[in-house]
Amino acid sequence: MTVVNATSLQQALEALRDHPGARLVQGGTDLMVEVNFNRTTLHDVVALRRVNELKRWHIVEDSQTIHLGAGVPYAEMERSPLCHHLPALAQAARTVGSPQIRAAGSLGGNLGTCSPAGDGLPVLSALDATVHLQSLDASRDLSIHEFMLGVKKNARQPNEVIVAVTLPILDGFQGYAKVGTRNAMVISAASACVVHDAIGGTVRVALGAVAPTVVRTREAEAWLASQTNLTAPLTVSPELAREFGRRAAAECSPIDDHRSTAAYRRHAIAVLVERLLLRANDHGKSPQ
């Protein structure tokens, strides 16, 4: 078993060429659990911890988007200034593990593992993120919806590194909420992200831990758009919010497992989506 500690993206890509099938590791918070419990057989590892190119982010002024390096730790997303640009991502970041985990974990790891319960993934889906992949000879951009394929399955090729995501800076409410068996240090039993694009006139909802991969509730979104004007400010009645939650929950396909039951997960999604939409409705109208 070889461990390559890459110090640049180029080195990491060359290491992937020289060690076909090597596992990429960023923070290690997923991979090392597998290793510690003998759930994986490690051959070669390419560590990205020292690749500084992956730990940077910047605003792209022309498109009003944020180019967020795949190795930026969750701890940085919680803090200013990133938290102001991407409030739903900041909220999701705050729910990831403990401070120790958030100092190590990153969106690159979340995307690479592609667990249906990954806390960053519903935010990327609701924001229609673009995922940037790089190999030695090519780079390609994939929509997040094309990238996530199933339980721990994604569209990354073995010779590619997930280098960054691009996310829009939007006007309007953004919220992320999840339920689990306790309030902190918990893997989601169900999670939801609601984003209101007040200029574009859309409300976008993505759900985590209730299907093989993150679910975008496009039918519920279209239904809401047909019921009310989604250009700011929102005027959503409690009845409309409840029906929206119910319709969003109808689009997921949860299972019974060690963390929760399908019935509870569906119920929780309806409550979370209703609650987040009501928060979006109140956003800017009263003190937060």
Partner: protein, 158 residues
């Protein structure tokens, strides 16, 4: 073979499997058993060390990827063998019962106070939310952190 810098000292790690966690290497190969291991999945915080300025779970760091990192364990907090102010506060406030979680908490609290000398109750709770204690009910741990904070503040005021 690879090298690790722990508490300012350069160590050679020889004949080790490359997939070993930093926790395992610290305890079993470098003779630094102050860092405790319990859950080995990042839930309990008893293995907390500071790596390049961040408090992390050493059980989730592949040791062979930590070359060139600056690692501080609980053994590295007091270089003269005397308890640090935080350790003394834990003793005085009764923040130690069985003691298993204590090294991880001590590292986490040093990390907190070094970055934020004036944490309020919420900041303290947030900072040690990744460190689980099954004995104390946390009340005396919070009191210990507040004691260390207040003593540092008093020292600064002098």
């Amino acid at each position: 073979m690879y090298r690790l810098t722990v508490n300012g000292i350069d160590h050679e790690v020889k004949d080790a499997w490359a997939g070993e966690s930093l926790l395992y290497v610290l305890r079993e190969r470098l003779g630094l058993p102050g860092t405790k291991g319990a859950c080995e999945q990042g839930e309990c915080g008893s293995c907390t060390v500071v790596m390049d300025g961040e408090a992390v779970c050493s059980c989730l760091v592949m040791a062979a990827t930590a070359v060139d990192a600056d690692i501080t364990t609980v053994e590295g907090l007091s270089l003269d063998g005397e308890p640090t102010d935080v350790q003394q506060s834990f003793v005085e406030a009764g923040g130690v019962q069985c003691g298993f979680c204590t090294p991880g908490l001590i590292v986490a609290v040093h990390h907190l106070l070094d970055r934020n000398p004036n944490p309020d109750e919420l900041a303290i709770k947030e900072a040690i939310s990744g460190n689980i204690c099954r004995c104390t009910g946390y009340g005396r741990i919070f009191a210990a952190v507040e004691l260390a904070r207040d003593q540092r503040r008093a020292m600064q005021a002098k």
